[in-house]
């Protein structure tokens, strides 16, 4: 019998308990269908990694990813921004990514929304301990753009309503 997709995902990311992992591997080695499904998952992972590395995707990223990208030798242009701050920014042809490090007081904050010219992005990942939200626009698109000014705003969403954590202005010029 073929395994559920959820079991394959748990196996791939090491989330199965050891006793289940051993039994699942026994099944996997005798199951051509499960092998095929796991190959699909592995291929999807490789495609996601390639799409990310090629700069086709935007994301608000975790510090774990930020550190992993640096460790891998990707060239990151960083802008450290304080609330109310503005910066003249760019992206060079040699840059792999631009990371806007939006600092804010995030202690006790449960949900953060990011508001940009492109719209409102709800419940973005953030690192409360580091007090930062890391915004990565899609580099491939950014490299094609001319000069523009854009603003980002971080909002803490709470039971009582929402409050502004910070506003950040970016004056972009092509490199």
């Amino acid at each position: 019998m073929s395994a559920e997709f959820a079991t394959l995902v748990d196996y791939w990311f090491g989330d199965l308990p050891p006793e289940r992992e051993g039994a699942f591997e026994e099944h996997l080695f005798g199951c051509a269908e499960c092998t095929g499904k796991l190959q699909e998952l592995a291929a999807l992972g490789a495609a996601v990694r390639n799409a990310w590395r090629s700069g086709a995707v935007r994301a608000v990223i975790s510090h774990a990813l930020f550190d992993a990208m640096k460790k891998e030798g990707l060239r990151l242009r960083e802008y450290l921004m304080v609330p109310g701050g503005s910066v003249n920014c760019t992206i060079a042809a040699s840059d792999d990514f631009v990371v806007s490090r939006l600092s804010a007081s995030l202690a006790d904050v449960r949900r953060v929304d990011l508001v940009t010219d492109a719209g409102r992005f709800e419940d973005v990942p953030f690192d409360a301990a580091a007090g930062e939200v890391l915004v990565c626009p899609a580099p491939a698109q950014l490299k094609l753009r001319g000069a523009f000014t854009t603003r980002m705003r971080l909002l803490a969403v709470e039971d009582a309503g929402e409050r502004v954590l910070g506003e950040y202005t970016f004056d972009h010029a092509p490199s």
């Binding site: 995902v9 092998t35 975790s62």
Partner: protein
Amino acid sequence: MEDAELAKAIAGSAPALDAAAEGEFCRRFAPRVRLYGLRHLRDRHAAADLVQQVLMMTLERLRAGKLREPERLASFVLGTCRMVVMDQRRGTARRGALLEMYGIEEEAVEDAEPRVFERERLTACLEALSERERSVVITTFFQEDSKTVPGLSTGNVRVIRHRALGKLRACMEGA
């Protein structure tokens, strides 16, 4: 051909080689060993090395007629994977000697062409995920051994990953 028949065909032809049976053995088990290697070693070159080593060691055993239970061929291959990975972690290597002895061509155990995902569709499907889902998917595939996304517990990451990969898969299949 069942695993047991395959094992018997390879053993029965010794000292000559049954190229067709050995080819089928490699085609059947190379993807499974490669996936095992990717899952446990998280390195595609190390996984490719593992494929070479495990297939060579198993063929060595089969040709010598030393596989006592041919119907358990899949279990034997899995056991060999586990042993080689443990050996690798201990810094032991048999690969050079076996390569010299049996000279299996690297192309013979290369994985089949992995599925190619259409880049624009993948980008659109990633874009359709929520910010948190996209961040978890990119982070976990970029750094497949990472289970930590700041601001989330491991349990939360697992739940988000399941949901996100389900959506991504459905989107890629046009569902």
